[in-house]
């Protein structure tokens, strides 16, 4: 049986490329604040890790955007990582995955 995250990731492969462009600036600011403060409650305010792993480019090397997007949307079974799907669209999750991957200040 395939891992649900992988299945989700392959589905997303199709969708994400047409995504991020449509996110307005005000929503981008909200998303960055969510990343800093709410993701940050487990991954650290500067995303250098806490109870959750660091979300730094170095630590995420080899993890494709789609995998990260799927993790954000669906969470990770067997870990405390929750699904953020109730609060984020696919495009927003993909946009966040890109920001994390390139490094956020």
């Amino acid at each position: 049986m395939r891992h649900p995250v992988l299945i989700a990731a392959s589905l997303l492969l199709l969708s994400h490329s047409l995504s991020a462009a449509g996110i307005p600036d005000s929503r981008r600011a909200e998303l960055l604040s969510l990343l800093k403060h709410d993701c940050g409650s487990c991954h650290g305010l500067s995303l250098k890790g806490g109870l959750g792993p660091p979300l730094t480019p170095a630590n995420l090397q080899g993890k494709p955007i789609d995998f990260l997007t799927a993790t954000i949307l669906y969470g990770r079974t067997g870990t405390p990582m929750p699904p953020w799907r109730p609060f984020l669209s696919n495009a927003e999750a993909a946009w966040l995955a890109e920001r994390i991957k390139e490094g956020v200040q």
Partner: protein, 390 residues
């Protein structure tokens, strides 16, 4: 000549009187963490005012503080491993060490001479001289084959001991620092999966770790350590699907009201009520969201609860006698922490997303004061200096 001497004497007396008027105690002071800016606001609870700001404390996300027994110095534990000693009266940093790569909290010893920090990276506990911040002991949380666990739920306990839990290893360790040169470590393994935080009861007798990885809590009776760690509330959520957890609950703001212990249920919109005589569940209160802090007013008559994202704009107050909700407040988005004044008539609340610090009357629930403060999180009053486990 005599008149000149008299004038001088008068001047001296007058100036020392002036000085005396400037002297103040610290029993009504406290600090509020500005988590994003690495700064503190120094607050005063007699007139409810902000006295000043201290900067340069590094990454203060998830920062907490303990106090020296003279209530003059605060020790701040930052996320970036920074341990900072602050003079509250002078509003200045007096010592600072970056002692690890990633830390999560700390405690001050019974005798006030040692400050311990719990670290995620490298996993373990480091103990420092409270005066100089020189390291006294390094205790790696080693387990399995060459692995080091993240450490959570660090508290002080009578007997100059520190107690903490190992998130990855599922263990509780008790470190006796009676002889600071020879830390004596007692380990309890197999206590349950993923302890996420812990509390010690106000009498210093019971250490209780909450478990994320399974239902229930792990309890260690420090008066009877030979009985080992036992599980309580093992089946509070049996057969039910847990909700996703958007913020880990906290236990360190213990809520023991009379013989009842109030604790946040993990992954449920519930507060659990436990009888501390037999550690059995006596009630389960449905609340507004997943609780983060469940804190008793100092007299134990009310319990105040805040909630995880996305329900973090709300505070609920519960009557500890009837177990019925008294009222609900909406301070604003991002209610992160609350701290009662020592005798409980007022409570300070930090509201992160709207950058506000607020004070409420705990009898009328009226908002008494509000200030703009940058991304406030933890609020710590000096009265903690004299409470076991805080």
């Amino acid at each position: 000549m005599i008149s000149r001497l008299f004038t001088l004497l008068l001047l001296l007396t007058f100036s020392s009187l002036l000085n005396a008027a400037n002297w103040r105690g610290t029993g009504d002071l406290g600090v509020v963490v500005e988590r994003a800016d690495g700064s503190l606001q120094v607050i005063e609870t007699t007139g409810n005012t902000i006295l000043g700001r201290i900067e340069g404390l590094g990454d203060l996300s998830h920062a907490s503080a303990v106090f020296s027994r003279d209530e003059r110095f605060a020790y701040l534990f930052g996320r970036d491993g920074g341990l900072t000693k602050v003079d509250i009266l002078q509003q200045a940093v007096v010592a600072r060490v970056v002692q690890s790569g990633n830390s999560i909290g700390g405690a001050i010893s019974q005798d006030g001479r040692l400050v311990a920090v719990s670290n995620y990276e490298p996993g373990g506990v480091r103990i420092f001289n409270a005066d100089s911040l020189e390291m006294v002991a390094d205790i790696p949380a080693s387990y399995g084959e060459g692995k080091q666990s993240k450490v959570v739920g660090l508290v002080d306990a009578p007997g100059n001991r520190f107690i903490f839990s190992l998130w990855d290893a599922g263990e509780i360790w008790v470190v006796d620092m009676s002889d600071p040169a020879k830390p004596a470590v007692e380990k309890y393994s197999g206590i349950g999966r993923q302890p996420y935080d812990a509390l010690i009861t106000p009498d210093g007798r019971y250490y209780i770790a909450g478990l994320y990885g399974e239902d229930g809590l792990a309890l260690l009776d420090l008066w009877n350590p030979d009985r080992g760690v036992r599980r309580i509330l093992a089946d509070y959520g049996k057969g039910q699907q847990k909700l996703p957890v958007y913020k880990m609950p906290h236990l360190e703001g213990w809520a023991v009201a009379g013989k009842r212990l109030f604790i946040p249920a993990v992954g449920r919109h519930q507060v659990l009520v436990v009888d501390t005589d037999n550690w059995r569940e006596v009630g389960r209160l449905d609340v507004h969201g997943q609780p983060v802090f469940v804190m008793a007013r100092p007299d134990g008559r009310q319990v105040w609860v805040n909630f995880a994202f996305p329900n973090n704009d709300t505070l609920q107050i519960i009557d500890t006698q009837s177990l019925a909700p008294i009222t609900t407040l909406k301070p604003g988005k991002g209610v992160l922490h609350m701290e009662f004044e020592p005798r409980g008539e007022e409570v300070w609340v930090s509201v992160r997303d709207i950058d506000r610090l607020q004070v409420y009357d705990t009898d009328t629930f009226a908002r008494l004061a509000e200030w703009p403060v940058l991304k406030p999180s933890g609020i710590f009053l000096t009265s903690r200096a004299h409470q076991i486990g805080l």
